[in-house]
Point group: none
Chain length 443, copies 2
């Protein structure tokens, strides 16, 4: 009996105690949930620490970990996912960055960050700034490709030309207003034979960032913004250097035909890079105002088309947490819940529902507390006794423990009747059973 | 104060929700248990994932893990345990397999499996088929030893002659009716220096399997079976290639004098290979109709004889699960419970009781959900508050967490007052403390 699997990630779902709500946003709304509570009532439940307890993961590392990839050797760096999320492809040896158009102010030798998003600069302005900067890069004959994506965001790709490149370099973005833009440098522990490549890469990206300030700070559109009292987009600040690694495809790794439904570019990037098939959904934006109905229909469509693993990602929960909107987060969870009904009526199905990490709507950032998780199956399984889904109940009724990212797929696969016995091996292929502790075991 | 330890494994004890029973078989019967509930009432309890959560272990890997051996480096392969279970001994360089006499049908180039047990072929028929096939192997001058054991089962040992052998080859048994018998191949990740040996081994076993079909399919006894409407035993299908590894003996590893009581050959094989002393019990068959009274008496005898660790294995719970007999499984647990009374009256004793894995009596196969476990001690310890032993209660009253196989021995040893403080080392011998993470620690 092979069941199909739907894996739902509500980004940044977990949270901490919010005084006004007398609990977390999920706890605040948990009794009002209908469909998610239907799932947890017939499901196992517990807590998930995607990387480890106390470690706040980035979304890309959390997803990769839950999909069963070994972060220690297989994580290619954030920039790679961003590039794939934008539909770009990386060639061997290229280094990709995510960047922001930011607002800086010159103080002595330093460029001090005043706004990390240049006032969430409008698309056409940002687009034009980047287009014009492309010309400058060309004039300087620099081996680089640069793309504006949405608002203040973009992707930058360095190409090997004057020697090999390396992604083992530090971010230029200090991630904090009031701090200076940093010089990128090779990681301290970079091995000797890669150090020169890392230095070459850091020098190149440092030069590009300096150029971007010199050019953008004098740009007509930025002068205009200042006149309008808006922060100028007068520098590009890259982070998350990454290089494509050889990742075994998700389908090959787990023996399933996998599809995904997502709005946010990062999640598309992760899913594309591991070879999941994309189910495009009009209006799936990765924002709070997204097409939830369409996304759930996308999942049903994928199942109808014969995909036996479907990953559904919803971003809004995380965005509202970053903006410290606890009550709105609770309301958004309720809204998601209303759209999940069709999934609760499926037969021969396993549904996993969790977050990729907790995001504190008190602090507006990722935190390392575990996330509630449920594993529903329409028949069999082992109901935990929980009647409502929340951080509190997933601790109280916990019947699987505090699991880690790499435990998620084995649990889903096992409930779907798709795991081989550990110790048997009918195929010569390497069978990865990744245990709770991130150690790949192969027999 | 050094207490004695009895470790009871009810094979495949854990299960999943069975609609007719409104719970698992153990949950269905848990309130009626007398002696096991006496143990859990004075014991710690929790959940055990013998390998990792979501991973369905084979019985041999689960036992080895619970006994504190590192599967990643010390697992010799199933065939080795089967051989030792039958009282055979392996020499260095030999590769052992377990095999089934099965029923196949030729379709084009494929041999499609129709019955994985040739209708649980009768002992004398199977015996004769194998005896006659031995002659064929001799005529072909193949370096192989072959033994019939029980019903459709047997053991096959390849001997090095034309070069070294390697157990790093895949199973020929697809473990599924309707699938073709597979060609054995070297594991994808076999290191270069072992690849040639693995190829040699795969070629040899593939040749033997082909020969077995050619010879057995035309055998008079099989023609007779077909005439009687019975499936013929017309091929041998090996699996679980293994080579003896250097395993430190259990007694040396844990500093106890260890004995075992078991009926099933596989469990005898595991216990013999790690050097436990066998307490033979007449009528201990490893079947549902086994001598439970005699087995418990065997445990008492071992304790009387000065063994301070006794492993008691009961197989029937797993067999009934594979046969999807949920209610019978519940009844068998009740029957076992009735025989455990003498153990509850022992002084200076620690008793662990669990399963080596969950076996779903809904699906008839091993699953990766954790198994309930209890740790009883007649004095001290830390009672969990549970009054009845079940999956549900071991989650609800859990006071040790979801532990892994390698946590079992330290917990038993510690409750028995037999653990050294981590950090102290009164003996020059290597002391293995195997932690929750499957990583052997030595100080």
């Amino acid at each position: 009996m092979h069941k199909r699997i739907v894996f739902i990630v509500l980004d940044g779902l977990g949270d901490e105690y919010i005084p006004q709500l007398k609990g977390t946003p999920l706890e605040y709304v948990s009794k009002e949930l209908i469909n998610i509570n239907k799932l947890v009532s017939r499901g196992l439940c517990g807590l998930l620490a995607p990387v480890s307890v106390g470690i706040p993961p980035s979304s890309d590392t959390a997803h990769l970990s839950m999909f069963g990839y070994d972060l220690a050797v297989e994580y290619p760096g954030r920039g790679v996912f961003e590039a794939y999320g934008e539909g770009l492809e990386l060639k061997e040896g290229e280094v990709a960055f995510r960047f922001n158009l930011e607002t800086v102010e010159k103080k002595g030798n330093h460029l001090i960050i005043r706004d990390r998003r240049a006032g969430r600069i409008e698309d056409p302005i940002a687009e034009k700034l980047i287009e014009d900067f492309k010309r400058v890069l060309k004039e300087h004959d620099l081996p680089v490709e640069i793309h504006h994506t949405v608002e203040h965001r973009g992707t930058l790709i360095l190409k090997p030309r004057d020697g090999k490149l390396s992604p083992k370099i530090s971010d230029m973005d200090p991630h904090e207003v009031g701090q200076p833009v940093l010089q990128s440098e090779p990681y301290e522990e970079t091995p000797e034979n890669e150090l020169e490549n890392a230095k070459r890469t850091a020098d190149l990206i440092n030069r590009i960032v300096r150029l971007s300030y010199e050019f953008l700070n004098d740009h007509e559109l930025n002068k205009q913004r200042i006149a309008e009292g808006k922060p100028p987009g007068n520098i590009i600040v890259p982070r998350g250097a990454g290089m494509k690694t050889k990742l075994r495809s998700f389908s090959e790794k787990w023996g399933v035909k996998a599809a995904f439904v997502a709005g946010g570019p990062l999640y598309k990037g992760v899913a594309r890079l591991i070879g999941m098939h994309e189910i495009p959904v009009p209006g799936a934006t990765g924002k709070v105002k997204t097409n939830l109905k369409g996304k759930v229909e996308g999942v049903l469509k994928a199942l109808d088309e014969g995909y036996d693993f479907v990953f559904l990602h919803i971003k809004g929960t995380d965005t509202l947490s970053h903006d410290k909107k606890s009550l709105e987060k609770a309301q958004f969870i309720k809204k998601i819940d209303e759209h999940l009904e069709p999934l609760t009526e499926l037969k021969d199905i396993v549904i996993g529902l969790t977050g990729d990490h907790s995001t504190s709507s008190l602090q507006g950032k990722h935190i390392g507390l575990p996330v509630p998780i449920l594993f529903y199956t329409d028949i069999g399984g082992r109901p935990s006794g929980a009647k409502a889904f929340s951080e509190h109940n997933c601790a109280k009724y916990n019947n699987i423990g505090v699991i880690r990212g790499p435990d998620v797929m084995p649990l889903l696969m096992d409930l779907a009747g798709r795991m081989n016995e550990f110790g048997l091996r009918p195929s010569p292929k390497r069978v990865l059973y990744i245990g709770a502790f991130g150690r790949p075991l192969s027999l």
